[in-house]
Each structure stands twice: as C-alpha cells, then as structure tokens.
C-alpha cells in the first residue's frame, strides 16, 4: 500500500461542522493549539473534539500538520494571528459538510488577543480598562505595542497569547 494510502486510512473522519487548519509546518500543530487556546476552549465547550495530524505528506510543504476542530468555528481574527507565525496555513470552515476556504491574512493591527511582552506596560495592569493593541511590522516580522512601543517578534507570539 502506498504511503499516501496509509496516511489516508489513518486520517480521522470528515466533520460535519467545524474548522480544519491545514498546511501547518510539520510538528507545529501544538503551537497552533496553543495560540487558539484549544485546551481552554475544550474545557468550556464539552462537545468539542480536536484531532491533530502530524507529519502528513504535502505537495507544497513536503510534510505538514493538520488540526481538525469538530463543532467549533475558529474566529478569523485568531486565524490571522496564526498567519503571523505560519504564513503557509489555510483554514477550511465546514458547515453541513460544505467546505469554504479562508486564507488568513497578516493583520495591520491586532487588538485584544496578545499580551504585551513588557510586564509593566499599562495594558498588563489588571484593573485598568485597556485592551492590548499592536501594530504589525510585516517586513521586520514583529509586532509593536501601540501603548508602550515594545517589540515582539512573530515567533514569540505563542508565548504571549492572552489566557
């Protein structure tokens, strides 16, 4: 049996409702789960199940990871944050078995989802009603805090996702 066939048999079933995040660089699915806070989501929404496929063959990437989330539509803004870290990813939304593709875009501004790396930044003061906000420096692959100007490189974003 071909390698492709073996993999296809291993893949989990199709989903009726949910999100499939495809073209994740191989062995990086856990980072995707971390950015999307899937553990927290699963605790809050008991019906959700998540399948992580790793080291799957891919025409464009050679090898890739896939994350399937049953019964949950990932917010496009969260998918856009993933595009900062993994520019290759694509997102498939599944509704009643029908699939619609979404190609995440690196946003110019990110609000609310990422903590400022400067612990003293006003946005990290719990009692102040301020939402963290970053502008994207695409060429430098960095975010810059709108309030305190601290820089955060794209690869460090998973460590600064707000809980």
């Amino acid at each position: 049996m071909s390698e492709k066939k073996v993999e296809e048999r291993m893949l989990v079933r199709k989903i009726e409702e949910g999100t499939v995040i495809d073209h994740i660089p191989d062995w990086k699915a856990e980072t995707v789960a971390k950015v999307l806070r899937l553990d927290r989501l699963a605790r809050m929404q008991a019906e959700i199940s998540v399948a992580i496929l790793q080291n799957v063959t891919s025409k464009s990437l050679g090898r890739k990871d896939i994350v399937k989330i049953d019964r949950w539509q990932v917010d496009q803004k969260d998918a856009d944050i993933l595009a900062l870290i993994f520019p290759t990813i694509t997102v498939n939304y599944v509704n009643q078995w029908k699939v619609s593709k979404y190609t995440p875009k690196v946003p110019d501004v990110i609000e609310g989802r990422i903590r400022c790396p400067e612990v003293l930044c006003i946005t990290n003061q719990e009692r102040e009603p301020v939402v963290p906000k970053f502008r994207t420096l695409k060429r430098e692959r960095m975010l810059q805090c709108f309030y305190c100007d601290s820089l955060l490189d794209f690869d460090s974003v998973p460590d600064h996702v707000r809980s």
Binding site: L120, I122, T123, R127, E128, V130, Y147, C148, L151
Partner: protein
C-alpha cells in the same frame, strides 16, 4: 506667536509625533518668550490644569505648576501618589475621568507604567501632556534638551552627541534619541550592554536613517563629542537588585573623565544626579545642566499656551 494649529488641542505623548518644523517653531516661540518674559501672563485665565503625578517629581511638577500659574490657570491634582486616592488603589482611568468631571481643560500626567500617557489620552477628550511614562518617554524633557543644545551651538545639525548611562530604563535618553533623529546628528550610546538602548529605539533610529553607534567606554569617544548627555542609573526601574549592583557607579563623569574632551563640549543631565556627574564640573564651561533645567519653565509655558490655544496677545 499666533494660535498654533500644529499644537492646538493635541496630546503630547511622544516626541516622535513632532516634525522638525514643528519643533523649530516651538523653539522660536520659547525664544520670543525669553525676550518678552511677561507676554503670556494670564493668557489662559479661567482654564484648569490637572497635574496628575503618579510618580514623585520635583523639577517637572514644579515647572508645569509655575508655567500654569504664569498663564493664569487654576491648578488641581497631586504631586505624588502618596497624597492621592491612588494610594487606595484608584486607577489611572478613573482618576483621569474624575478630574475631567471637575472641569480640567488639560492633563499633565506622570506615571510609572510604560504606555500610561497614551492610554490616558484615550480616556479623555482633553489634551494630555506626557510628563514621563515609566521607562519610555519624556517628550517635554526632550524638547528642553534640544532647545538647550541648539542654544549652546546655534544649531543641531552636524553635532556629535554621546548619551551615557542608563539608556535602557531612562526615558529621557530614549526621548532625546528620538528627538535628535529629526536632525543630521551622529549619536553614540555609551553604556554597558545590560543598560543599552532598547530595541524599539534602535529600530526607530534605523528606520529614520540616523547614524548611531554603541560604546562601552566613554574614554574611547569623549574626544570627538560636542555634547555629552549623562543620565542616572534608574535604580527604581531595574527589576533585579543584583543587576543594579553590577552597574552602580560604573560611570562617573568628572574632570579626569573629560581630559580628552574638546573645550567646547557641553555636558547635559536631566537631573537629579546621584554620583554619575561630579560637582567639580559645575563651575566649568562644560556644565550646561542647570541652563538645561531652567529651560523647562519657558518651554512648558509656551507649550501649554499653544496646546490650549492661547498664543501671545
């Protein structure tokens, strides 16, 4: 000094928000005030300035207080968090809103947290002047610094400026570097690696094409400098006390350290000083720091008059 559209009603959060032309016009207005010291007296009578100092201050608070009084404004607020409800845990947001409710026409805010001034500006429609936000910015100090250097040399272009000391946590150092990027200057950052200029400042300067280099030892560069800007190690902002112990007293600018300096060198310091700047320099032609401190009053007077739409009669 007509009503100045570039300053009227605006927030003064970062020195980066100002162009060279705007700064030059501000300096011209300060020179006008120096020539006619009473020209702005009582110009803003009936207006209320809220001075909210969430971090203690002597020079900045006093100079804003005197500036507002000169302009005929009423003053409210506090000079230290110990004397306000901040000590009970009141937030910056609530404090600003409360003083707005009391009729404040503008806010002058110092706060220990980086980004506080920009946040405060979002909480009120009234102009906010950043009097220092943590380790990040102190725009009015940078305006004073440029004004002082410009006065000493008659220009800013072409100067070689060394900024020495705690460049990582010192807000005056970063604001000065940002401000000087409007001019054709050569910057040298003199500090141990642990206290070197923060990445976002270096990134900004690079984007602006400003020449800057890094140096550990003042002796290697002092002979080529026109200006030496000395800063205090910000003990209160260094999170790790062992880090402070390592750098404490590392730099002392005294006559021996300036042995190779040009006779025309000017030494500036935002004050207060601890042990990084020797008193023996006070009587020399190098010392420019008291002139620099004195510039705070006319500069802040003019700035408030422009922001609140006064200008000269």
């Amino acid at each position: 000094m007509a009503k100045e559209g570039n300053f009227f009603g605006r927030d003064i959060i970062s020195i980066r928000d100002f162009t060279r032309d705007q700064l030059e016009r501000l300096f011209q207005s300060v020179e006008d005030l120096e020539k006619s010291p009473n020209s702005l007296d009582d110009l803003l009578r009936g207006k209320l300035a809220a001075l909210l100092f969430f971090e203690p201050s002597t020079r900045t608070y006093s100079s804003f207080q005197i500036a507002a009084a000169t302009l005929g404004m009423q003053i409210t607020g506090f000079a230290s968090p110990a004397t306000s409800s901040v000590s009970k845990g009141e937030t910056l947001h609530d404090t600003t809103r409360m003083f707005e409710g009391y009729g404040a026409d503008c806010f002058v805010i110092r706060h220990p947290m980086p980004g506080a001034a920009r946040f405060a500006a979002e909480t009120t429609d009234k102009p906010v002047i950043n009097a220092g936000d943590g380790s990040r910015e102190h725009p009015t100090q940078a305006m004073m610094d440029l004004f002082t250097i410009r006065k000493a040399f008659g220009k800013l272009d072409g100067l070689k400026v060394g900024i020495l000391g705690d460049l990582k946590y010192g807000r005056t150092a970063s604001s000065l570097a940002y401000a000087l990027s409007n001019y054709d200057v050569e910057l040298t950052f003199i500090a141990p690696e642990a206290l070197q200029m923060r990445p976002e400042v270096r990134h900004f300067l690079q984007q602006r094409g400003t020449t800057s280099k890094v140096e550990r030892d003042l002796r290697n560069v002092v002979g080529g400098l026109d200006v030496l800007y000395v800063t205090r190690i910000q003990k209160e902002r260094i999170p790790d006390p062992t880090e402070f112990e390592k750098v404490k007293g590392l730099y002392q600018v005294n006559l021996a350290a300036l042995k190779e300096a040009k006779p025309s060198l000017k030494v500036l310091h935002p004050l207060p000083r601890v042990d990084e700047l020797a008193a023996e320099l006070d009587a020399t032609t190098y010392a420019n720091y008291f002139v620099q401190a004195a510039a705070g009053l006319p500069l802040r007077t003019v700035l408030m008059s422009l922001v609140l739409g006064g200008g000269a009669r």
